[in-house]
Amino acid sequence: MKKVVDKNELRHLLKDGISIMFGGFMACGTPQGLVDLLLEMNVKDLTLICNDAGFPDRGIGKLIVNKQVKKLITSHIGLNPEAGKQMNEGTLEVLLVPQGTLAEQIRAEGSGIGGFLTPTGVGTSVETGKQKMTIDGKEYLLEMPMRADFAMLRGSITDTDGNIYYKGTTRNFNPLMALAADTVIVETEELVERGQIKPEDVMTLGVLVRYIVKEEKK
């Protein structure tokens, strides 16, 4: 299976209305070249799932500034004023989710878990519309798995099979999202041959990855 492609070969896949999980935490570990591809194509009505709204000029924030996002599922939008502005104007739907619950929802989807109980959000507005369960006197919310059409990841080193190694804090949501989307695309800083990543060092399995694009040097 040929996985390494030119960024432009992805264009036919990226249609208005798709949902995308973006790796990254305040732009660290976000595939910036794939964000830029979506910007160039001006794909509209996106549903994005990402830890945060990034910055206006970094991370997924640029897609919000360019008004390409219909719905954003995230834990934090504080460092991208445009997200709050569009939310208040009613042009951007924002679902705020506790960060740990968001990570767990993505992991649950990827791991075949039909739902899980968490105390996070009990007694707050996060409860709204959710089933509550009490076990041994402790209250929990039943949270559901979360899936997307695409996962867009940023790898530090990727081999031609799609095995990924993440440096530093770029790892964050990337390995979780690799398991929770129909089509997984990785943008990699460095591309190496099969066998160049030690088996213990593989953080995302190649078999989960469909497309690999090389990050453009700045």
Binding site: F25, G168, N172
Partner: protein
């Protein structure tokens, strides 16, 4: 009253640092809580966790030596100390939600005498989002609120929070520049006061009802 805000923050950070114990895993929120790291007692080792996926965060790198693959929860470049580790968000929140974080220190918009805390949204005005705060406050073994005692003359320590809550009944200790207060089943107990204030002044500057500890102490800083 202590009117020098920088001094006030230093007092709070120093006092909170005295809560730390050898071997603990600790999460410090952005802003004032971060200052606690500067006052860790010399004879103990604590591990600081950052929710974006690291422990043993080091100082901000020199200008020109930034590595944008190593950042803090605010997306700013930092460094990692020897013995540190990087991990994914699933592990990061396993630490936080699984009760492995011994102490979380965070600032707040409001906190009340029942241990309720509200620090993620001002409806219609400011909606930053909860980030990891709900997970931290709910999952950490001990929740310490670091806050100035008053803001624009109004008490930050309330009878009842008015803003949407971050979590219910989860705060254990509130440390301000004037007082150390513990949330107990009986109510909010005033345990220590700053040497430069009086019980009456603290009471007058606090909206919450205070139970004066029978063995009230002077704040150690």
């Amino acid at each position: 009253m202590i009117t020098d805000i920088e001094l006030a923050k230093t007092i709070i950070a120093k006092r909170i640092a005295k809560e730390l114990r050898d071997g603990q895993l600790v999460n410090l929120g952005i802003g004032l809580p971060t200052m606690v790291a500067n006052y860790v007692p010399e004879n103990i080792t604590v591990t600081f966790q950052s929710e974006n996926g690291m422990v043993m965060m080091g100082p901000v790198p020199e200008k020109g030596k930034e590595n944008m693959d190593i950042t803090n929860a605010g997306g700013q470049p930092v460094t990692v100390l020897p013995g540190g580790a990087f991990f994914d968000s699933s592990m990061s929140f396993a630490l936080i939600r699984g009760g492995h974080v011994d102490i979380t220190v965070l600032g707040t918009l409001e906190v009340d005498q029942e241990g309720n805390i509200a620090n993620w949204v001002i409806p219609g005005k400011k909606v930053p989002g909860m980030g990891g705060a709900m997970d931290l406050v709910t999952g950490a073994k001990k929740v310490i609120v670091a806050s100035l005692h008053t803001e624009k003359g109004r008490s930050k320590i309330l009878k009842k929070c008015t803003l949407p809550l971050t979590a219910k009944h989860e705060v254990n200790l509130i440390v301000t520049e004037l007082a150390v207060m513990e949330v107990t089943p009986e109510g909010l107990v005033l345990k220590e006061i700053n040497k430069d204030t009086t019980v009456n002044e603290v009471i007058s500057l606090t909206d919450a009802d205070l139970i004066i500890h029978k063995d009230l102490k002077t704040m150690g800083i």
